[in-house]
């Protein structure tokens, strides 16, 4: 029987495995795999490019929302911060996206077709429309030139901004990655909330509290939506929630949640203190970035482990 060299590594072929170690939320299921190899390929998207883009795109899109609101209600200092912030964030985003391509010189192929079946195609067209508007809004604001065109650009960017901030949720959920796909009902709200709290946070950080009321409102609303939606997401995911809670990724997401909750309290209770407001704002921005990196890494981990692909499919077949 020396020729019978059955692999003994985790999840070896033809063998049932039972997992030990960390305490799972859902009782572990037995399953079979091919030498423990993943069934799907993990994304080739790189850190920090892609999770950084999710964060910056959200910050930009929601900042344009804030800019439009602040502009119309007469919070001109806040509007200026939001417009400049939106332009800076979307510029960095674009660089990150092009850099992440396997063939960066061919980035313009993104606008070769329009495909509603591809969130990345929809997003490319959104960015192509939004970017110039955000740029025009910021340039007009800073230079004072063409104020009417500037207002139009501000409103246009405010209209497209929510799309820029949320389509990325469909982008990651429209994959076979279990920890992303199975959360498609909640992810857009997590992303919208995270974007709003980041944009509100930037406003709080860079503006005197007396001039930042719309930013505070946006931050508080966004942070609350994000905290609730993320909890709902984890409930929905069942065992695919494990990658969100285990190891470094789990720690990052817990820190993000604590920062968000703390900043939420700080933004409300410390509304008359410049220092507390600024600290709360900075915390919200940081928390939003950590959240996106954590969600990104959780998806990668769920793609690497065949368990998250095979067990839910088996359960579906048993029903």
């Amino acid at each position: 029987m020396s020729g019978v060299n059955v692999p003994v590594r985790r999840g070896g072929n033809g063998h049932r495995r039972r997992r030990g170690g960390e305490q799972p939320m859902v009782p572990d299921a037995e399953f079979t795999s091919y030498y423990g190899r993943p069934v799907i390929k993990e994304p080739v998207w790189r850190v920090p490019d892609v999770p950084g883009y999710f964060f910056l795109g959200g910050l930009a899109g929601a900042s344009s929302v804030l800019a439009a609101g602040a502009h119309l209600s007469g919070y001109r200092k806040l509007a200026r911060v939001a417009k400049v912030g939106a332009l800076g964030a979307i510029s960095l985003s674009t660089v990150a996206l092009v850099h992440d391509l396997g063939r960066p010189a061919r980035f313009a192929n993104m606008l070769r077709v329009f495909k509603p079946s591809s969130p990345m195609s929809v997003g490319s067209w959104l960015l192509a429309g939004y970017g110039p508007l955000a740029g025009a809004a910021a340039v007009s604001e800073v230079t004072g030139m063409l104020p009417k065109a500037g207002l139009a650009a501000t409103l246009g960017a405010g209209l497209l901004g929510p799309g820029v901030a949320t389509y990325t949720a469909a982008l990651i959920c429209d994959t076979a990655v279990p920890a992303w796909h199975e959360g498609f009902r909640e992810m857009p709200y997590v992303f919208a909330g995270s974007a709003a709290s980041a944009a509100g946070g930037l406003g709080l950080l860079a503006t005197h509290p007396d001039d930042a009321e719309p930013a505070r409102n946006l931050a508080v609303l966004g942070a609350a939506v994000e905290l609730i939606a993320k909890r709902q997401l984890l409930v929905r995911l069942g065992e695919a929630a494990e990658p969100y809670e285990a190891g470094t990724t789990g720690a990052v997401l817990r820190v993000a949640e604590l920062l968000t909750a703390g900043a939420l309290a700080g933004a409300v209770l410390g509304r008359h203190s410049r220092a507390v407001s600024a600290l709360s704002g900075a915390s919200l921005v940081a928390a939003s970035a950590l959240t996106r990196f954590g969600i990104f890494e959780a998806g990668m981990a769920s793609a690497r482990d065949p368990k998250y692909t095979i067990v839910p499919q088996r359960r579906r077949m048993a029903r």
Binding site: N13, T32, E42, P43, G69, S73, T309
Partner: protein, 269 residues
Amino acid sequence: MSSDPAALAGHLDHPPRMGFFTDTSICIGCKACEVACKEWNAVPEDGLSLSGMSYDNTVGLGASTWRHVAFVEQPAGPSDGVRWLMASDVCKHCTESACLDVCPTGALFRTEFGTVVVQDDVCNGCGYCIPACPFGVIARREEDGQAHKCTLCYDRLGAGQEPACAKACPTKSIQFGPLDELRERARLRVQDLHAAGQDDARLYLDDPDDGIGGAGAFFLLLDEPEVYGLPPDPVVTTRDLPEMWRHVAIAAAGLAATAVALGLGRRRR
């Protein structure tokens, strides 16, 4: 008409849908398919290491591996020793193809034969197709930064030839032909195997009502799909996309409404 993807893609008056029926019950693990594929398609070498996974040192499909022979050694009864499963895996050329759906450049397209092919001069290496595939087939090549996978030998099909792997297969484990004929042949083959006492023979991805609308390349397996590294019940991710867009629209509308609410509150001083 979901079984006629070529027509849905706009090919009028197209040839019949062509595909593979890979009958793993007669695979001898010779890897002639892997070699023939690499040779014909000029696919670069992608590693010459030993994996420790039985005779499988190819390990899996990838950007530079378009046929992959899996080897599974299972303990059989005390007197039988070991049962050795071998199976040549390949791109499934799904009826509902996630890689094609999500490709933002149109580099991935549906051919007149109903197969799915990447256009090398269009792909910009965004990588979206890679996590979209429920089988982990398509991948990005380090050398050129672009996505690659089996083309079902699109060039050979155009010249009336069969794909290189099927041509090279010495046991006819890999059969090429019109998908309708292959499905009929496969049903008869399973019946024969069952009659011969091989009760665990089953078809995989032959059903047009499954989660990918049936595959252009389907299989006869002798154990559960996951034993061979295949997902037991794959569903194309884009089936849920309309609902995803609905939730994105609600979330985005909520953000936009927030802007309006913020704008309504006139500054007090």
